[in-house]
């Protein structure tokens, strides 16, 4: 569920746009930071380096003078260290160290290369604290001279990097956050549209998209979809009205014919005895009328305008009543199993629900061969009816919901007729649905009798 939502979320165009935008923002930010770095920290660094090199150079020049002896040279070192506290100078004169360092560090590159190395400095409280020194060494006639300066900029550089890191992180969070918000907004609008389309697909042509006052691009699309739905709804209605009218108009004369036949049968029956052909005519006429009635009722059920007075319906009782009704049909022929795994209650119309369940159960019994098995399992608002009859091939499963569809055109029996179409319409009225599956062998009908919680 969550991974699915995440996948959906990250697949959107706006999310891709957000990511691209984030990259651009991060690049620009980094560029600015690099420039700032160059102008501030790096510049100070260069100055520091220049200072060190100047000092080192100065001492080298000093040592190169003929007139300068060891004493003057060490004096100069002393003077410089006293003047500047951040200056580190050490002369390695015949393994004796002159200057303000106690020991001579190894591996210091020669002028003009510089290296950063740590030393311990005793502060005013008498505590030692590590300090980074940037230094180089030059050869003098008195020995190797090390010149260095406290590298405070090293700390600054660190701070700069931390601050930059925070700034970039903040920018990242900001853009992604904005992206998430936009994405959710857009997704919710798109979701509204796709949910509506799904509803329309499931037959609820009356559904319309809500329009906001902003009149934005989504409202434009919504409006167009709504208009399209109005048109489709109108067309469907006019078609179903035409069929309704045909059925209705044909029914009246057919009813009259039926009345006449009945009249003749009532009179002639007494005078002339049985008229078997007339009884047959009446029976067939009844079937035609029945089909008309079912068609009219179906189109009525499918038009969700039907105002049902719904009340809580106990599904266990309804199923039990269905089982009681079909019990004698089952008795010797096959085995009927009826299991309540979990009782269920739905808001609905008892008569219609009974009818839907009866249609499905009766179908299962009708198509199950002798000694077969029909199993009815109620699990909350979901009812599963399984049989081990011939089943319905997969490619036919959608078709059986069509009006008057027959599975095997050559078969002479009644087929599914309007039964399953009526079941589907009834379940749709209750916010449920019907699903057909393979029972290996046979058919498994899954009736969701109400909305899924």
């Amino acid at each position: 569920m969550w991974s699915e939502r995440l996948r959906l979320f990250t697949q959107t165009s706006i999310w891709r746009f957000t990511l691209a935008f984030t990259v651009v923002v991060l690049l620009i930010c980094s560029g600015i930071l690099v420039m700032v770095y160059q102008f501030t920290v790096a510049e100070q660094r260069r100055q520091l380096e220049q200072q060190i090199l100047t000092v080192a150079n100065g001492f080298q020049d000093l040592s190169n003078l003929e007139s300068v002896h060891f004493v003057e040279f060490t004096q100069a070192i002393q003077e410089r260290t006293e003047k500047s506290h951040s200056l580190v100078i050490a002369l390695n004169h015949q393994d004796q160290i002159i200057g303000n360092l106690e020991s001579f560090p190894d591996a210091i590159p020669a002028f003009p290369q510089l290296v950063r190395f740590p030393i311990a400095v005793i502060n005013y409280q008498g505590e030692t604290e590590p300090t980074i020194v940037l230094g180089t060494q030059v050869m003098t006639k008195f020995g190797i001279l090390l010149v260095g300066l406290f590298d405070d900029y090293h700390k600054e550089e660190k701070q700069f990097l931390t601050v930059s890191g925070f700034a970039l992180g903040g920018a990242l969070l900001f853009t992604v956050g904005i992206g998430v918000i936009f994405n959710r907004r857009v997704l919710s609008r798109v979701k509204q549209i796709s949910e509506l389309v799904a509803q329309v697909q499931s037959g609820q042509l009356q559904t319309r998209l809500p329009l906001s006052k902003r009149a934005d691009e989504y409202d434009l699309i919504s409006n167009q979809i709504n208009q399209m739905l109005d048109d489709i709804d109108g067309l469907v209605n006019s078609i179903s009205n035409i069929t309704d009218n045909i059925a209705h108009d044909l029914r009246t004369p057919l009813s009259r014919i039926r009345i006449r036949i009945e009249e003749v049968l009532r009179k002639k029956g007494e005078e002339l005895g049985e008229e078997p052909w007339l009884v047959d005519v009446q029976t067939e006429l009844d079937q035609v009328l029945e089909t008309f009635n079912a068609m009219l009722e179906l189109s009525r059920l499918e038009k969700s305008t039907l105002a049902l007075e719904k009340s809580p319906c106990d599904l266990v009782k309804i199923c039990q009543d269905v089982v009681d009704l079909v019990q004698p049909l089952v008795q010797q022929k096959l085995q009927l199993e009826w299991i309540v795994e979990e009782p269920g209650v739905v808001q609905g119309e008892t008569h219609l629900l009974f009818r839907a369940i009866y249609n499905v159960v009766e179908n299962a019994i009708r198509y199950t061969p002798e000694q077969g098995q029909v199993k009815i399992v109620l699990k909350g608002t979901c009812l599963v009816v399984e049989d081990n009859g011939p089943g319905i091939p997969e490619f036919e499963r959608e078709n059986v919901f069509q009006r008057l569809y027959q599975l095997d055109k050559s078969r002479q029996d009644q087929g599914f007729g309007l039964g399953l179409s009526i079941v589907k319409a009834i379940l749709q009225l209750h916010g449920g649905r019907i699903q057909l599956e393979d029972n290996h062998p046979g058919l498994r009908v899954i009736l969701q009798l109400g909305p899924i919680d």
Partner: protein
């Protein structure tokens, strides 16, 4: 027995009128809602058959108006509208039964007779139903025939109870189904016949006389031989 028929289709009312007259009913016909309401309020009818869709005044409006006057004459609604919600509307407006067009006269007759009889003896709080040597004890929930106890399934018990309560009257399959299962729709198959056949097997063993009789094209009736 006086019957008022409120129906605007000429062929239909002529036929129903004739058929009821053959059954010994006195039949008055009203061709629209206004006239129907006027005649019905006179209160001299035992039963009213009312078409749902009428000119001038709709059947249901007519019925509600009639009930508003305090008139309690049983009313059967005849309707081309077969839907459950229509039926419920009809019964809510004060109808006692609802017959969907196209109907067979037999079915209408059965329902008219059931209603008129029901109207006459509704307050018979009997605890025992008897036909021939069959006794149904409603308190003890027991059925015996010639002293032999017969065990029945709950629905079989209800079926038999309904038939015994209306002994001598023809009861159709749909009437039985509606009374025992209390769902409004026609199961169409022979399922009620199978229930009755099972019930018969239990009641009429060992060459005992037949109690449940089939009336061809109409339904069933319980009668002592």
């Amino acid at each position: 027995m006086k019957l008022l028929l409120i129906e605007d289709d000429e062929l239909t009312y002529q036929y129903i009128q004739k058929a009821f007259q053959e059954q010994g009913y006195t039949v008055d016909v009203a061709n629209d809602g206004n006239e129907g309401l006027f005649l019905a309020t006179s209160g001299e009818y035992d039963i009213i058959v009312l078409d749902r869709m009428l000119s001038k005044m709709d059947g249901l409006t007519c019925l509600s108006a009639l009930r508003a006057t305090g008139n309690q004459t049983p009313v059967i609604i005849l309707s081309a509208l077969a839907h459950v919600d229509e039926r419920i509307k009809g019964l809510k407006a004060g109808g006692d039964d609802y017959v969907t067009k196209p109907f067979s006269f037999q079915e209408l007759l059965i329902r008219v007779e059931l209603l008129t009889k029901r109207h006459q003896n509704t307050n018979g709080n009997t605890t025992k139903l008897v036909v021939d040597d069959l006794i149904m004890d409603l308190l003890g929930h027991k059925v015996t025939r010639a002293g032999q106890e017969i065990s029945l399934q709950p629905k079989e018990f209800q079926l038999l109870q309904y038939l015994l309560t209306h002994q001598g009257q023809v009861v159709s399959r749909t009437v039985l189904f509606e009374a025992v299962w209390e769902y409004y729709f026609d199961p169409k198959t022979n399922v009620i016949d199978v229930h009755i056949a099972n019930l018969r097997k239990k009641l009429e063993t060992n060459n005992q006389s037949q109690l449940i009789h089939t009336v061809r094209g109409a339904g069933y009736v319980v009668r002592a031989p």
